[in-house]
Subunit: 409 residues, 2 copies
């Protein structure tokens, strides 16, 4: 077993990114089911976008050289050669000295190479007065200008948002190869933890609210969740149940029992699940110091602190990063903003502090009001919109300072 | 039919909040399925939190008055009366002159009313030296201090996040009455629109990428989506298909055909679906001016502009607000941040402009780089992380100014 050596937040993130590898099972699914999956392949554009020359304005398609020298004081004259209908092929090509009406997005007729905006023309019964010259290509999108056929459209590792799905659909791509979504197992440990269905509590008992909170976060982030129930403080049973659950999931989360105490089997059980084993045991963070991170035969195992507020903060920070890496996303999702803090908050250098905050908007800026309650069990959770980070080099933050905020959705 | 009168963005939001009422069908579901549902009832706490007096520190439970006058130079002396185990009832009450060890979160023994931190004590073989006095209640959470039994825990209209689910679970609440989630129908209109499966396009044809993008956003926001297919520019068929789809959904989205043109039946069809009918036809916004908003017998109908980039922006702005109101959420979800713009962007006063941006972080602040492409069809969509708003009173924004950003997830 590794020696208990507390890591900084930065070291922890670094160790996470070095240890966690994406799943390598790929599945092909219809685009309509692919939201928030991660691409398992590079996708190249099968078509030019646009696939015909298109006007960016309402105006007249012309040969640019026919307009050279035209101005307000010295208009040019062109003959109207008809009209392009939206979504249709132009009726014919234009000749020198001709102009054809074309709407925004409409196809340019052969023979034309630019469009004069309608505001710079006047139609005098079929004779078009042109008050402004245009250069070749002006007000025109050429074939493949947005995306060229064969160009890289989306890179392997891209998490598919609505925009990417739209882009794929526009190219006629209706199925994609993606990385299977990870299945996350969860086990609560502790003699005092009882099922949430328990009607009345004996003294000292608490219901397994962490199972609910962590399960909801896993679902919100788009992964499958398997609730493995509660295990009492018994090393053998704990190890057996953890092995069983890990065998049928991609990642195991264990809540509770991770402080250094007499009944603490968590780190031993986690270490026993496989190699290389525990790579973080303790983080210089408040709250959440007794965090355990491990890798058992390529499957991440996360030991969360038992306190509900700490568990949520640690899972937002490290759990999310681990699940995203496991799912192969190339870049981490942004849930970060910045806000001005409304109170001074002291902090100890050498430790990163996270403080839950309520966010509000005022004068085009965000403000973060710390939610400080000595209990921190329920009411403060419900009031919080996110958490601010006080970096480990700081002795605190001053009222009015801009601080990074991680938003809880 | 209402007269075509362009509304400002503010007027549009105001009209939306006055017209759209939440669904009134309630269902009772298990907590494990309730993520992102909206509560249909106020929920009162059935239990005190905490339900016993609890220590907030590792230390000694004492009678506060026994410590009065104790200091570094003049310590008090108390007799050790045993130890409280975590999650267990204390072995006995304490008497005057006694102290009992209690861990953080542990139950206070009867007879005690405060806890002295372990750092302020010294255990000399069962004699506890106390170097600091404590006031009654110090380092103690009293019964019901976090949440009192019978107090309002969560208000009707609360959208259930992971935190709220955890809070409910902690109280032994395992099922909740919620507002049914709305089902959203979608119909694309336009002779040029073809199914996304179409292998090769005839000149002028485009695949129905809006159906994919809008469907993915609806799913991302947690609602059901029914794709109603494509309807050609034929007023009768359009009206029949729209009526049919609206009859089996809670809200209808119609894409395309909403600019004022010869083939534009959208506003007539939307008006024909029911009363009170169209309440917004045209918004002073760029892009997205030809937006239509209507209410047909309490069901919202949204006419989106056909251009993909405009459709996405309008749906993020007004569509999301409409769906959230329909789903009864008390407060709108935050997807807003602020960022410094990296370029000057001119804009016309009297019109609200939305510009898609790429977001990046530097020196503890967000920067928004405008993505400006004349085509705006595919590549700019994929590059964008959100959109900035240039308010209608402004003539543009200057490089370095802080601007509001709506984040695309």
């Amino acid at each position: 077993m590794k020696f208990f050596q507390v890591k900084s937040v930065e070291e922890t993130f670094d160790l996470i990114s070095r240890h966690i590898k994406p799943l390598t099972e790929y599945i092909t699914i219809p685009l309509t089911e692919a939201l928030h999956f991660v691409l398992a392949e590079d996708i190249y554009a099968p078509e030019n976008v646009p696939d015909f020359r298109r006007s960016t304005v309402d105006g007249y398609a012309v040969k640019a050289k026919d307009t050279f020298g035209s101005s307000e004081s010295m208009p040019g004259f062109l003959t109207l050669a008809g009209e392009v209908q939206m979504g249709e092929v132009p009726p014919r090509a234009i000749q020198a000295g001709e102009a054809m009406y074309v709407p925004t997005g409409g196809m340019l007729p052969d023979g034309s190479d630019a469009v004069v905006m309608i505001e710079h023309c006047e139609d005098l019964a079929g004779l078009i007065n042109v008050f402004k010259q245009v250069a070749p290509g002006e007000n025109v999108i050429s074939v493949g200008e947005d995306i060229g056929k064969g160009a890289l459209l989306l890179e392997k590792g891209t998490k598919l948002r609505s925009q990417e799905l739209g882009a794929l659909a526009s190219q006629g791509i209706t199925a994609v190869s993606v990385i299977r979504k990870p299945v996350i197992g969860y086990l609560s440990s502790g003699d005092e933890i009882v099922p949430i269905e328990t009607e009345s509590l004996a003294p000292g008992e608490i219901r397994d609210m962490n199972g609910m909170t962590i399960g909801a976060l896993v679902a919100e982030w788009g992964y499958s969740f398997q609730y493995g129930g509660i295990v009492k403080d018994n090393r053998e049973e704990f190890e057996r149940r953890a092995k069983e659950l890990l065998a049928r999931t991609d990642c195991l989360i264990v809540s509770g029992g991770s402080s250094v105490g007499t009944k603490d089997y968590s780190v031993e059980v986690i270490q026993s699940l496989g190699n290389p084993g525990v790579f973080v045991h303790g983080v210089s963070i408040k709250p959440g110091k007794p965090t355990i991170l491990s890798l058992a035969e390529n499957k991440p195992v996360i030991g969360l602190p038992g306190h509900p507020a700490s568990a949520v903060i640690i899972f937002h920070l490290f759990g999310k990063a681990i699940l995203e890496l496991l799912h192969g996303a190339r870049k981490q999702e942004r849930q970060l903003t910045f806000a001005k803090i409304t109170k001074n908050i002291p902090s100890s250098p050498g430790r990163t502090d996270y403080v839950r905050v309520r966010l509000f908007e005022e004068n085009d800026d965000w403000y973060a009001e710390p939610i400080i309650g000595k209990s921190g069990l329920i009411s403060t959770l419900v009031q919080s919109d996110g958490m601010i980070e006080i970096a480990d080099r700081l002795e605190g933050v001053q009222k009015g300072e801009r601080v990074p905020v991680r938003i809880f959705r």
